[in-house]
């Protein structure tokens, strides 16, 4: 194994991949490996987090991530409280911090937060003693997604070091792409960002990735092809002429996939727009690990909850 696993997570929160060391990433992946087995038991539940409370604070639409966290929490026997922006007092004008302070009065041990503003989980982490887990903040990071992606890659390739990973799509607006770029760079993989110039991130060089304006050259020798959806909700103006044209130039079709390495796997964090960034034949094909990603997501979130449970008391008393 290329990277030695850390003994523990050093902070009380997991707000971004940029804050984690390679050893901490390895620890989370190794822990998730063991927790994957819980889902195969007749009783899919262990008592490790019995008596602890998790607040799921989702200020932005989410199905997969919210369900995944909730399943992870329940499999560890934690009690869960769900707050959705539309059904809570957030829609009545309460600020994030007032919401958080009110939640703290209920003494949760963890707050899982998804927020449209980049940096919201980081700020929350500074003001509340609970462990904060970032479930996606604006266009900044989505650390649990990157970890489950790395975990899924490891199931096929054993080691992340030296892997050639293509990430294609609306990268500029993608926290998934950013977290993946941070993680893969730390673990020694090569990342290729594919997008029209209008959808490349502004700090593409700083992320340590290789930008491509066309899909075909990037696919050459690729081990992993990760397709991202066009995030129309984050775009004020349209950055390409039409969906049809986007498909013609950037969609992953069976023919294009043939340009990648013979063992290449296809990933997508969801939700998929079939016929826009990915052809159905590829999405449902033998090289697709898209549903494995969903299964693995639960184990990754269980691992983070489990590991943070160990560190919280000490870390919280520092602040």
């Amino acid at each position: 194994m290329a990277v030695e696993s850390a003994a523990a997570l050093s902070g009380k929160d997991v707000v971004g991949i940029s804050h984690l060391s390679p050893g901490e990433i390895q620890l989370i992946l190794d822990t998730a490996e063991e927790l994957l087995e819980v889902a195969k038991r007749p009783i899919k539940k262990v008592p490790a987090l019995r008596g602890s409370t998790v607040v799921n604070l989702f200020m932005e639409a989410s199905t997969r991530t919210r369900f995944s966290f909730e399943v992870a929490e329940k499999r560890l026997s934690a009690d869960t409280l769900n707050f959705a922006a539309s059904s809570s007092s957030v829609s009545k004008g309460e600020t994030l911090f007032d919401t958080a302070r009110n939640l703290m009065a209920m003494a949760p041990d963890f707050i899982v937060i998804r927020h449209p503003h980049s940096g919201a989980p980081h700020r929350l982490a500074k003001v509340v003693p609970a462990s904060i887990i970032n479930a996606g903040d604006g266009i900044n990071e989505h650390p649990t997604q990157a970890l489950l992606d790395a975990f899924t890659m490891r199931q096929t390739f054993a080691d992340l070091e030296g892997l050639k990973v293509v990430i294609a799509g609306d990268i500029r607006h993608s926290r998934v792409a950013r977290s993946n770029a941070f993680l893969l760079d730390k673990m020694g993989a090569e990342v290729r960002f594919v997008a029209p110039a209008s959808l490349q991130p502004v700090d593409v060089e700083e992320l340590g990735v290789i930008p491509f304006l066309r899909l075909e050259p990037a696919l050459e020798g690729a081990d992993v092809v990760m397709m991202l959806r066009i995030q129309l909700e984050r775009q004020k103006r349209v950055n390409f002429p039409s969906m049809r044209e986007y498909f013609d130039f950037f969609a992953l079709t069976p023919e294009r996939l043939d340009l990648a390495a013979g063992h290449a796997i296809v990933m997508h964090p969801g939700p998929m727009n079939r016929g826009v960034e990915i052809d159905s034949g590829v999405a449902d094909g033998p090289r697709s690990v898209i549903l494995d990603q969903v299964t693995n997501g639960v184990a990754i979130r269980m691992a983070i909850l489990y590991l943070l449970a160990g560190g919280r008391s000490e870390a919280a008393s520092d602040s």
Partner: protein, 187 residues
Amino acid sequence: MVKPQSEPVALQAVLDEAGMARTVARMAAEILDRDGDDVMLVGIHTRGVPLAARLASALKEATGHEVAVGRIDITLYRDDVGPWRPAHQQPVLKKTVLPKPIDDRIIYLVDDVLFTGRTIRAALDSLIDYGRPKAVRLVVLVDRGHRELPIAADVVGRSLETTLQEDVQVRLKETDGVDGIWIGREV
């Protein structure tokens, strides 16, 4: 549940390699006497796992039959991890592997040292999440006393009179490179 050592200790040998081999053979014979060879041995991580394997090969030698061997990790069932008590470093998780369904079988839980009984409590809770065994029995290489729960072993390699300050160390070739049992006493 061995406490971390803060004081220097002198180790006193209780059992050497040959003694351990004889003890394991005798424990296997006791299992056979009691339930025959239609049992499943389940070792508790860490040293219960190689011990279960040794008992299985002793049983095979005696009967010619393969005995099912599994292993169980009790970490997620422990009463001293999790957010309600400070423990900066969570124990590393290991695999639980049960080769066959445990329903209606006689299960022998195998561990190296029986002390407070808390590990066994956790192992029982974990095991029962996998099914409903006909019976669960407990095999330990060393019973050092000082139970904190109403738990007793069915097959015991050695019973040792110990004080709470003493440290019982079981070492196995598979995990520690050497076979033997030692008691540590404060100098």
